[in-house]
Symmetry: D3
Subunit: 69 residues, 6 copies
């Protein structure tokens, strides 16, 4: 499957914090810490646990840019 | 300024494609290609051009995860 | 590839309106009209043109609900 | 009220999973399963429970497209 | 129609910049400048032009917070 | 730090509802009630509690517009 999303970043799951509805998945993307908030249902369906290789998928329209003053 | 966004990735501008309303900013984040779609107004205000150092800021709730079948 | 996104809706491309940066892709999802705004780059890479079968992928956190008064 | 959002899909609530902050609302949209993550506050204010008729509202810029390889 | 979105801000259209696909709508929300990027189709359908009274609708999950260092 | 996000609204924290993963932060923006859903981690890192002055940051592409019928 190919996706229109322009940002596809390889990462490894470091940890998963589950609430009732939402799970925060902490990731290591080649040394850069990232976090994905997904539904608990999805986290379990994809069997996300420490060490799992994933791809972080982000739409270009969801990327904001910051520059130093 | 500190941000609630959990994903803050250092990158360098590779190129900017401007439309009337939207600009697609191509980035190199330590060898990973990323793209941000922002308003043309913002791209000009932040003086984004090739070589500029930026931080790509992404909310955790905007990060989707994919795993191989 | 399996995605964490909870909303995956089969659809057929009806038309594509391209700007410089963004393409609006009109879809027919079993009789329901939908529109996706993606980068022009992505629309061309995925060879989106009338009749193409696609899946519209939407994160649960991007779905708002409305009810009649 | 008319909305700028291009995607407005009629659906019926199938179930609601509430956490402290977020509620995942499972929907049946003419046989297609969808899920909306909204605040618990909103879920209660809109009195969302099984059988309720709703409209799933999604901005075009939040729709990603996937095509088979 | 009632919406699950928690942020509904009254504003007045100040100007509209149209591209082929996207329109940036500049707003005055009680003296605060805001900008909405919507499809050109939506901007025309809602007849958005200078002086028009609108409501800016934003999901809670799309609001990021910043604090001074 | 300057941000590409076009919507930066000054506000004061009114209250924080924490779940396991997500915190809903209720804001008063010059008399307009707003709510931000962020990770609990971020809410604690930014020490968000009643009275704290913040800026609500929203991408233009996340602002939907509504007009009365």
């Amino acid at each position: 499957m190919r996706l229109s999303a322009r940002n596809q970043v390889r990462a490894r799951v470091v940890g998963v914090t589950e609430g009732e509805a939402t799970a925060n998945v902490e990731l290591d993307a080649s040394g850069v810490r990232m976090v994905a908030s997904i539904t608990v249902e999805a986290a379990r369906e994809l069997k996300l646990s420490e060490g799992r290789e994933v791809v972080a998928v982000i739409k270009a329209s969801d990327v904001m840019l910051a520059v130093p003053d």
